[in-house]
Amino acid sequence: MGDLIQIVVAKYNYWIYITLMMIGLYAMIAKNNLVKKIVGMNIFQTAIILFYVSTGAKRGATIPILEHGHGEHGAGAHVVHAVDYINPLPHVLMLTAIVVAVATLGVALALAIRVYNRYDTLEEDEILAKIREK
């Protein structure tokens, strides 16, 4: 039973990440409202970030900040074992990705505002209809 739960837990995580990605991707493609697409885009990006962060998870390890960090520097002060700390690399990558996500969000919203000012609507089909009328 314990094993089964472990397997379900292990797989469940990845499934949920992929479900979230699918939600975001679906919203980006299928939604008609431009701001809804941007929400979907952020959900997609965040789901990918979640996936990355989970690759760094390590059972029985603590956060990647070294203990006894203060005081004397250099080797010999305290022996550090890799198994005691969570893998820091995905965290670093994802800090970058979060910032990229918010940058994209800013530009996308600015563009959406420009589109709204021009066509007075955020619905894509209404905008296309207005373009065709001209």
Binding site: L25, M28, L34, F44, I48, L93, A103, V107
Partner: protein, 498 residues
């Protein structure tokens, strides 16, 4: 100092982009000289770098002084040395040519536009030079964001089409990121060479296969490969001339470079061509891309939009050539990156000259244009000959390699697609040139007093000279194709591909 070329190549443009945006608040006239100087340094160091690579072989530059798998390293070999030189030279020429049109189209926002322009070039150069899979993603986003901002400054529906480009571009970049994540989880590394060393033991793994497909689809979205091309024509057509003549020649080409880099370095040709049996379907897809690009271009009655569909077809050439899986096809694809960057630049510079003097570039607007702008039209003819693939120009030679690659791989459909597309290009450009040469101006027809004596109203010299340099470059690259192939591309392709 030549040790530091790889760093200078991207740092000088980055720093000067920042200086430009700050200087714009003080004096706008400072911006253009700074941008020219920055891209000049970038072009100089990229050519210096290429020459060093030719002498010494691949160069590894450790950023931050850390050894590659730990830190980020630049890895410059023959392949990206060549692409770096092309990118920086194209960006430099286009910057000089675009000064007037930027001042005309965006009078009160020149400073941020130059800053974004230089940032875009920084991103492109970084993408080409980097040897780290994740670093590539970050640079991809710089390129993308600055590109969106520049393209959205155009008229008509520019904002809407750019927003669509943004959605598609983000999907592409996210797919690439996801693919890198899948690779990371099974290899634990982000350095391209390091990943390539670990992968051979994992070729059977489904995760690697998934990673490869996702990365490939992401890159395809970014390069507008056929079923995923819908964002490109509108975004490029409605952007300001300066932006589209930078982005159209470079971004798709750089993404094709990324695809070739993924095949050659990260996943190795062994995996891509032999273990996976997906070469054939992809070449078929490329054939469809070429056909559809050509047919959609035929349907257009707007010069700039027609050119964007030609880009879609050209992307098909390069993807197909790269996936033929033999030496000739790969050579053709790499050579075509160089040639197509120059050809597209030539065509788009012509369009920006026309836009500078006329209101639009629909076929109705350019009637009888040859009397008004004879030099610009002369350059268009050379560009058109090259896109069609007529011998002295460079377009012929890359097409030659692609076709001989298709015959070697017995992919006759690809050969037929290439010939068909050349034929369609003949029709397309003959139509444009016919309109420009023979059809009189519509209001002149009313008078009917013999041939109209339209005064010459050529674009300013700063726009014409770069255009002539590019047109001359098309012929020169064609003449020196042998040297480029034997001295550079020959070493860029690993020995494993026959």
């Amino acid at each position: 100092m030549s040790q530091q070329y790889p760093a200078l190549l991207v740092i000088v443009p980055l720093l000067s982009a920042l200086v430009i945006s700050a200087a714009g608040w003080i004096n706008k006239r400072l911006c253009f000289p700074i941008a020219v100087a920055a891209l000049g340094v970038a072009a100089y160091s990229s050519i210096g770098l290429l020459l060093r690579v030719l002498d010494e072989g691949a160069i590894v530059y450790r950023l931050g002084g850390w050894d590659p798998p730990m830190g980020i390293a630049y890895y410059v070999d023959h392949l990206n040395g060549l692409v770096l030189a092309v990118v920086s030279v194209v960006a430099f020429l286009n910057l000089i040519a675009s000064k007037k049109s930027i001042e005309l189209e965006l009078p009160d926002k020149t400073a941020p536009f130059y800053a974004l322009y230089v940032l875009q070039v920084t991103g492109l150069l970084g993408i080409v030079a980097t040897g780290d899979a994740f670093n590539l993603y970050v640079l991809l986003e710089i390129t993308a964001l600055s590109g969106y901002a520049m393209l959205a400054m155009g008229k008509d529906r520019a904002q809407l089409s750019t927003l669509n480009y943004l959605y598609m571009g983000t999907i592409g970049a996210c797919f690439y990121l996801l693919g890198v994540g899948y690779l990371y989880i099974v290899t634990g590394s982000l350095n391209m060479v390091d990943i390539a060393n670990i992968l051979p033991s994992l070729y059977e793994s489904k995760a690697v296969l998934g990673a490869f497909i996702i990365c490939l689809v992401g890159v395809w979205v970014k390069m507008a490969f056929f079923p995923l091309h819908a964002w490109l024509p509108n975004a490029y057509t409605h952007g300001p001339s300066a932006a589209s003549s930078l982005i159209a020649p470079l971004v798709t080409k750089v993404m094709i470079y990324v695809m070739i880099r993924l095949i050659l370095t990260v996943f190795t040709p062994e995996f891509a061509f032999n273990i996976l049996a997906i070469s054939k379907p992809i070449v078929w897809l490329a054939c469809i891309a070429i056909f559809m690009g050509a047919i959609l271009a035929l349907a257009e009655r707007n010069l700039k939009k027609m050119l964007t569909y030609i880009i879609v077809a050209e992307v098909g050439y390069m993807v197909g050539g790269a996936w033929l899986g033999n030496r000739a096809g790969m050579t053709g694809a790499i050579l075509h990156i160089v040639n197509d960057a120059l050809m597209t630049l030539c065509a788009f510079l012509v369009v920006s000259n026309i836009a500078y003097k006329l209101k639009g570039y629909a076929f109705d607007d350019i009637k009888g244009l040859v009397r008004k702008m004879p030099f610009t039209m002369g350059a268009l003819v050379i560009g058109a000959l090259s896109i069609i693939g007529v011998p002295p120009t460079c377009g012929f030679f890359s097409k030659w390699y692609l076709i001989s690659g298709a015959i070697q791989a017995s992919q006759y459909a690809f050969m037929v697609a290439l010939l068909f597309s050349s034929l369609v290009n003949v029709v397309l450009f003959f139509r444009v040139i016919e309109i420009c040469y023979y059809e009189p101006f519509s209001d002149d027809g009313a008078h009917g007093h013999g041939p109209p004596s339209e005064p010459m109203a050529e674009a300013p010299l700063t726009m014409l000279v770069p255009l002539f340099i590019v047109a001359a470059g098309l012929v020169l690259v064609g003449i020196y194709t042998g040297d480029i192939v034997n001295k550079i591309i020959e070493f860029a392709i690993p020995q494993g591909i026959v």
